[in-house]
Symmetry: C2
Subunit: 199 residues, 2 copies
């Protein structure tokens, strides 16, 4: 825009750098900030600084946490023989919401993607292998996304693990619950047929 108000232009620029925020949204957010009470502006700025300072990776599973070891890794009631491998901390939150998994996690922080210059050494695969050395783990669930990169990453890691005698599984593919068969894409539908079960 360029309002002739440098402090405003700078704020709009900062918001525009954020993901999925365009010119108009950045402007709207900037005006929102201008309209806040003093204490709410401090609250917003503090929340930003504070989150960035306090949150780091769990030294075991690489999920985000404010502690040295995250609450899931510290929890004695979780099954230590099974690890669910995900791409991203948000995936941990999604799986936790199902209340169906009581094992541990490992967060890769990405997927292997040669196009974006991300090789296996950029991910936390070394750290995953280190966790397997004491033989308490006997199953790994690969819960990377059902994308080309997610698949390739799951395959790559499973090949590393097989020789260690650890069972490696993959999340089931199929039609999403509540979806309409008519609108399912062919690949999903053929995977659903392939994976059919007796009832």
């Amino acid at each position: 825009m360029a309002n002739g108000i440098p402090a405003l232009d700078r704020l709009v620029d900062e918001f525009r750098k954020m993901p999925s925020i365009g010119n108009k949204s950045a402007e709207r957010l900037a005006f929102y900030v201008l309209g806040l009470e003093d204490k709410d502006v401090k609250g917003l700025a503090d929340a930003i600084i504070n989150a960035h300072e306090r949150i780091h990776q769990c030294s075991v599973c690489r999920n985000l946490t404010e502690d040295e070891v995250c609450p899931i890794c510290k929890n004695d009631k979780r099954d230590r023989s099974i690890i669910c491998v995900v791409e991203d901390p948000r995936d941990v939150a999604a799986i936790e919401r199902t209340h169906e998994f009581n094992g541990l996690y490992h967060v890769l922080h990405g997927v292997i993607s040669p196009i974006n210059g991300i090789g296996p050494e950029e991910l936390t695969i070394k750290e995953l292998l280190a966790r397997l050395s004491d033989n308490t783990v006997n199953e790994i669930i690969m819960a990377t996304n059902p994308t080309v990169e997610g698949e390739a990453t799951a395959m790559y890691i499973s090949r590393l693990l097989k020789p260690l005698g650890i069972s490696v599984s993959r999340l089931a593919y199929g039609i999403p619950v509540g979806a309409d068969l008519e609108y399912a894409d062919e690949v999903t539908l053929s995977r659903a047929l392939e994976g059919r079960r007796e009832i």
Copy 2:
């Protein structure tokens, strides 16, 4: 969401308060902040605090500025006999971009809207009338939005100004340049017919 990471939850909450930011976007923005370099986080927080501290209303036209009087009001080359009345500082920026208007502005900071409990005394109408007391102004352009509230506000102000012998005009209505006639709504189209000009 609830990640079990209080600093993250707090940041997501702060972003969720912003206009047109839902749960998913708030989460995405929070993860963007976590991924920033130290200095970029400081830059973002500073821009927020700084903009809020420095920007206030021009003592003359009520547009936003970092100075006591804004650059437009201070500019000797602007025509002081004509004032364009707008709802919002963003409208000043929009009109300035046309480079077609060389007068001054007056920002109302809203429109009369009984439903939202906003009466004339909530707007900067008193300040507008005060600016007219020295008789340098002889035309007012009402450039409020073409909404019910914008119209009503324009009418209200024009009735206050007429007795002062000041000419009051309204922006022209019509089909937007580059738009397709076929898709113009009936009201716009009938206004465009009504306002037709000889060529």
